[in-house]
């Protein structure tokens, strides 16, 4: 399970060690529609891997399958060498998997502090602690550190529903960086942001530790190519090609199916 098939032409070189995340023949159908079909992919540990493709290519469905929001109709998913195919989302999180959502999924009535506190508590013990404890303050301090990292310290005590869209996106990312993540999946983190906000987002992701495995779905090709070590192009639920950003930018098939679809 932990080693990719040698006949798989899309499998990347594995010089970085064991795969952080391995998908083997993963598929998901909704009735007659194959949203994701026979996808075999490696997110090698410590690698930044972008998944690109036109709308409806199955990128977000793929992320939902990895996180357990959806269960695959076929195939297997392994995280750090452990089979997680049928595990519930909250179990996968405890094994080091984090994600952000294309549309922010935040606790709207709560403060930034509470959102981050909960994200930290979610990967720690004490879910069913029924009274406030002294340990809460430790997590609260950690929440402030993360808020600083994603430039939200000014808004720390404000409820999420008064934040700007950009700030909500920052919080969305902050909540995925808590604890000790092994693999973080960013689902269109730059969607809807202004150019300035995009710049600081790219800086933020670039500054993340290189030990972190990153999966990235992004429509902005420049951002995707700049941030990633490896790029996979999907179309119609299938992997078309995987390669380095330079290979991908030069690939005529990519020009046709992806750039053509975007710009033409």
């Amino acid at each position: 399970m932990s080693s990719p098939s040698t006949s798989d032409v899309h499998a990347p070189q594995r010089e970085h060690g064991h795969p952080g995340l391995a998908l083997d023949g993963v598929g998901r159908s909704f009735g007659a529609v194959h949203a994701v079909k026979d996808v075999t992919l490696r997110f090698v540990a410590g690698e930044r891997h972008a998944v690109l493709g036109p709308n409806g290519a199955g990128k977000t469905t793929l992320f939902n399958l990895i996180t357990g929001d959806l269960l695959p109709s076929a195939g297997q998913i392994a995280l750090g060498g452990t089979d997680v195919t049928t595990l519930k989302p909250h179990i996968r999180v405890r094994q080091g998997l984090r994600r952000t959502y294309q549309q922010s999924q935040l606790f709207e009535t709560m403060s930034v502090a509470d959102n981050l506190f909960l994200a930290l508590r979610g990967v720690a013990r004490g879910h069913l602690t029924l009274i406030p404890t002294s340990g809460d303050q430790v997590l609260r301090d950690q929440a402030a550190d993360i808020a600083e990292k994603v430039n939200l310290l000014d808004a720390f005590d404000y409820p999420v529903n008064v934040l700007s869209y950009g700030q909500q996106r920052q919080l969305e990312i902050g909540m995925a960086l808590v604890g000790d993540p092994q693999v973080v999946l960013f689902d269109e983190p730059a969607a809807g942001l202004s150019p300035a906000e995009r710049g600081s987002l790219v800086d933020l992701i670039e500054a993340l530790p290189r030990t972190l495995t990153i999966g990235l779905v992004e429509h902005d090709l420049d951002i995707a190519l700049r941030l990633s070590d490896r790029v996979t192009i999907m179309q119609d639920g299938q992997v078309m090609v995987t390669g380095t950003p330079d290979d991908i930018a030069a690939d005529p098939v990519v020009q046709r199916i992806y750039l053509g679809a975007q710009h033409g």
Binding site: H90, L106, F117, R121, G122, V123, L128, Y158
Partner: protein, 324 residues
């Protein structure tokens, strides 16, 4: 200040007010508090909280002492402890049943549970004594104090209500409470950051069962009796009305709602025919729901700080960008 007021009330209020208004409001408030916890924080609207209270009350009547021959006549405190245990188990059981449902389906299933409990009590004579139920149930003596007397009963009910209120308020600041609110705000994200949403809902149902059970025991001591009429659809809906009138965002709303409800029910008789009480409470309900998003708590909030708003961080950022 509230505690001080509650301590001073017996010096100015007569027995009727102590028991019929304050003690009754504390009791109904405790049951509504269980719905506030489930509905306000968990987003789970359960209509069967009165049934949980009723089953605790029946347990007390059956195991403890009453004027009915079916009662087993054991010690009142033991019977009360057993009643709480039953409420806990029933709360847990309802949580298991409705755990996977959401919104309107939860309401429908808990309504069905409530109606089923009502008919069970109404038609079963061996255990529930059918239509008649149990009467002649009195609060026990403790350390020589007769809890039946107005002042001790007032102290008992108000102390337990305060404890319930403080307990739920602390729960709201705890990791469990915050996570419960998180499952209401965005269930998907709550799971995506590592919370077992189903388990949180189940624990919420169980704690709510305990609160409702406490209210149920006091309700039986207050009325001196319990019958299917105590747990019919009318009383089930009353709890929902109390919770909504008071406001579901904070535990104090349940008691505020109960106080207003009890005042209206007690004194409406002077203003309108007793049969018109439902029309009156319906009108009050409409006015409050239409003018406030969070019942009386929302209205009080508006009155205490009209249009006072913190500057949003969005404006703060804009301001900083302009000055830099």
């Amino acid at each position: 200040m509230l505690v001080l007021a509650l301590v001073l009330i017996p010096t100015i209020a007569n027995d009727f007010f102590l028991v019929q208004i304050f003690a009754q409001a504390a009791i109904l408030g405790l049951i509504a508090l269980s719905l506030m916890l489930l509905g306000g924080w968990g987003g789970i609207v359960s209509l069967s909280q009165m049934s949980v209270a009723g089953l605790a009350g029946y347990t007390l009547a059956i195991l403890g002492q009453s004027s009915m021959s079916q009662s087993l006549g054991s010690n009142s405190w033991l019977a009360a402890a057993a009643a709480l245990a039953v409420a806990l188990i029933v709360g847990f059981g309802i949580g298991l049943l409705v755990g996977r449902t959401r919104g309107i389906y939860t309401i429908m299933i808990t309504l069905a549970i409530g109606v089923a409990v009502f008919y069970l009590a109404n038609q079963n004579y061996a255990i529930f004594n059918g239509f008649t139920g149990y009467s002649g149930i009195a609060a026990p003596h403790v350390l020589g104090v007769d809890l039946r007397a107005p002042l001790p009963f007032y102290v008992l009910c108000v102390s337990l209500a305060l404890m319930g209120w403080a307990g739920v308020a602390a729960l709201g600041r705890s990791s469990f409470g915050k996570a419960l609110i998180a499952t209401r705000d965005c269930e998907r994200r709550a799971a995506a950051i590592g919370f077992h949403v189903g388990r949180h809902r189940l624990v919420a149902h169980t704690i709510a069962g305990l609160l409702a059970g406490l209210g149920g025991i006091l309700l039986v001591w207050f009325n001196g009796r319990i019958s299917p009429g105590t747990i019919g659809v009318g009383p089930m809906i009353d709890i929902l009305i109390i919770a909504v009138i008071g406001g579901m965002s904070r535990p104090s709303g349940a008691f505020l709602g109960a106080f207003v409800f009890v005042l209206l029910r007690t004194f409406a008789i002077d203003l309108v025919d007793p049969e018109r009480f439902n029309t009156l409470i319906g009108l009050v309900f409409l006015v409050i729901v239409l003018t406030s998003r969070d019942g009386l708590l929302g209205l009080l909030g508006k009155l205490s700080k009209p249009e006072r708003r913190k500057m949003s961080p969005r404006l703060k950022t804009l301001e900083r960008e302009e000055t830099s």
